[in-house]
């Protein structure tokens, strides 16, 4: 790819300045520093034009010789899926391209300065607790529009575009005000997890109605096992996810849509209050106050030791606990039981969403290559490789059909198939992080100190109204 004249020297000047500052040779160029560190990068040219020849095997017009830089977040999913599956797949098609791979546990710390300096990697896995604010990236024009990627043909599913091969809602999940800028790759299903061997040994079955649920919790309690718990110290969002799942099942998915759109009185809806009421009672009657002070790893370990029977989580749980799971423990998952007999959605309905963001830097050196890399992630082989390495499903439809990988994965796959089209999600937690924080605190209060549903709704409504009135926060709708 030809360097656009001017950008090269511009970068060099900055690099030199940065190094000089590092060496402490620069005295106090405070304003200069601010310009270089904080607000630089906006004049960096967008190099996005197809520079290779477009063909059936190269629909995005990637320059076959251009190097590609990929950065993967090293967390619960590891990085093997990239180094062992996706990079070889890319190199098979473009053997002359040198793919540079690196990994980090802190994406923002490592990548954000590079984005601002106008030198971002081409494809970034924006994930983990230190992920970069995707809305802010889009606002600053740093993320590549992925429309062309989704319209391109699939690598190995003949006759389909990339979009056709994905589960419905995937493209929308990465849209910011109408245009796709992020690929949410991992498909996570949420439910109540339990040890199927413990259940089988006691003749317990997964409850469908609330009466069955509480009856089961009573039986478990009788056995001296803590029936239900979650980690209050750092994972209360697992619990508010379950509360809102119940709310959506009682009142339909629009309940969540209204919450996302900051509609007036969305948190005061009868369905939300009913769900909070039901779960608050579970917390008061079957929970353990001490778990407010525990972290997710501690509660999950207690479940592995059969001290906790039922635990709310997403489908990464099995992989996360792999090394602590004893032989007598097999993960299984059930949908949240129906709260009323007249719920708007069936008992099989679940919370499921595409997550784990991958995006292409718009101002990188090889944005076409970055998009092409995503196309390889979305191939059938790429998706299978990912699921085998991580035990997490991808957004590629039916990529792992017929494969048996692990009991937990089979169980979540069964639950997803049973749900059919009845799955839903919300996005307020990533759009408005402040609301997420308030929901965590309010949930802990609801579940651990007496279960006052009205107070929960009032608190959340107040916080949502405050976010709505705050002009400094960018608003999104869906």
């Amino acid at each position: 790819m030809a360097e656009i004249p001017g950008t090269g020297t511009e970068l060099d000047r900055r690099t030199v300045l940065r190094r000089a500052a590092m060496a402490g040779l620069l005295a106090t160029p405070a304003m200069g520093l601010l310009n270089a560190c904080a607000s630089g990068g906006d004049e960096g040219a967008n190099t996005d034009t197809p520079s290779g020849e477009k063909s059936d095997t190269n629909p995005l017009g990637v320059d076959p010789k251009a190097p590609l830089e990929v950065v993967i977040f090293n967390g619960g999913l590891g990085t093997k899926y990239a180094t062992d599956v996706h990079i070889p797949s890319y190199n098979k098609l473009f053997p002359e391209s040198k793919v540079t791979f690196s990994q980090t546990e802190e994406i923002a710390t490592v990548i954000q300065p590079r984005v601002n300096a106008g030198d971002p990697p081409d494809m970034i896995n924006n994930s983990g607790s230190k992920l970069m604010d995707m809305g802010a990236l889009v606002q600053a024009g740093q993320a590549q529009d992925l429309t062309e990627l989704f319209a391109a043909p699939s690598v190995d599913i003949a006759g389909s575009t990339v979009k056709d091969t994905l589960v419905p809602g995937t493209v929308e999940q990465g849209q910011f005000n109408g245009k796709p800028y992020a690929l949410n790759y991992a498909f996570t299903v949420f439910g109540l997890w339990y040890n199927s061997k413990l259940f089988a040994a006691n003749n317990w079955t997964a409850p469908k109605t609330w009466a069955e649920f509480t009856a089961l919790l009573d039986q478990i309690k009788g056995k001296g096992i803590l029936p239900y718990s979650y980690a209050g110290a750092n994972a209360s969002y697992y619990q508010y996810l379950v509360i809102l799942t119940s709310a959506a099942k009682i009142g339909g998915p629009d309940v969540l849509k209204n919450i996302d759109n900051l509609a007036d009185g969305a948190w005061q809806a009868p369905a939300v209050k009913q769900a909070a009421q039901a779960w608050g009672e579970i917390g008061a009657k079957y929970g353990n106050k001490a778990h407010l002070g525990l972290k997710h790893t501690e509660v999950q370990l207690q479940q592995n030791q059969d001290k906790v029977a039922i635990y709310p989580s997403g489908s990464w749980l099995e992989n996360e606990q792999a090394k602590d799971t004893p032989a007598g423990f097999e993960y299984a998952v059930m949908p949240v039981p129906s709260v009323t007999g007249s719920d708007a959605m069936p008992q099989t309905a679940i919370y499921a969403a595409a997550g784990e963001i991958y995006f292409v830097a718009a101002k990188g050196k090889n944005p076409r290559g970055g998009m092409e890399y995503l196309r390889h992630m979305l191939s059938k082989a790429g998706a299978q490789g990912f699921t085998k390495a991580t035990k997490v499903l991808t957004v590629v439809k039916g990529a792992t059909d017929g494969l048996t990988i692990s009991p937990g994965l089979t169980s979540s796959d069964t639950m997803l198939k049973a749900a059919g089209a009845d799955y839903f999600s919300y996005r307020f937690d990533t759009w408005y992080k402040k609301l997420d924080d308030e929901a965590r605190a309010a949930t802990n209060e609801l579940m651990f100190s007496g279960g006052d549903a009205q107070k929960f709704c009032d608190r959340m409504q107040k916080a949502a109204d405050a976010v709505k009135a705050d002009s400094s926060i960018q608003k999104f709708t869906r």
Binding site: A21, G24, L25, L26, A27, T28, P29, A30, M31, L33, L34, C37, A38, S39, G41, D42, A108, Q112, V115, N116, K130, M132, D133, G135, A136, L137, Q139, A140, G141, Q142, G232, A233, N234, S236, K289, A290, H291, L292, G293, L294, K433, K434, D437, R440, A441, N444, E445, F448, D470, S472
Partner: protein, 301 residues
Amino acid sequence: MRHGKYPFIIGFLAVPVALYGTFVVAAYVQTFQLSFTSFRGFGAATYVGLDNFVRLWDDSQFWQALRNHAVLLIFLPLITIAIALVFAFLLNVGGGAKGGMQRGVWGSKFYRVVFFFPQLLALALVAVIFGRVYSPDGSGLINGLLNGGDDPILFLADQRWALWSILAVLIWQAVGFYVVLFSAGMGSVPQEIYEAAALDGATRVTLFFRVTIPLLWNTVQVAWVYLGIAAFDAFALVNIMTVDRGGPDGATMVLGMLIYRNIFDYSQYGYASAIGVVLFFLTLTFAALTLRVTRRDTVEM
């Protein structure tokens, strides 16, 4: 030598001044500048005047953090200095006079090491250790000792106790340093004064209040300022130990945590800088006030 003087001085100062200018002054200036913008981490910063400070005024979390700092500001210096003074006194003077020399209690050399030990541990380690000590189930050190974890005390999970639990760790960690500081101060008190006081029949308690403290006043004053500044921090412990980082429900929220969350969770760099500016002035005001209020005539020795 004369005409070589300035190049020598400049050559000597250039590097430290440049380092200080780059990493301290420039960073401060940049924070002040950012506090007037709505910068979100990417792209250009837009100036919004005093908007961030107006929002801060209405931010209930900010006020809660200030209240928490007020509690720390009162009790951290008070308790730490009190404990450190007593320990230092016992280590240096508490053993009574022997052969004309004031001595510490038996084994004072050993205790000196023990007291200083927490100071050697990184704060993050201290936080993790006390996370286990306070753990709300049977695996917690304290709750495990008390009735094996049944009906546990929720140190960090109970709004009433969370801040005090953090305060206790801060004190535990700080005491050792101030014992050493006060010991050094007591070492410089001339023996004759103690001797004269002892001849006049002063008890240990009288020695402590009438001799040691007045002569140590300068050191105590410095300790007070240091501890006050530490009370404006507490970020590491709150970040690692507390429920929901600053919870439950804001009970342990501190300004450092608020800045961190605004930058890394909400991408509100401008707003976070505004909190930083407020913190800067609070610390400065506190230090100036303390030095002013506690000013006394130094006792000539």
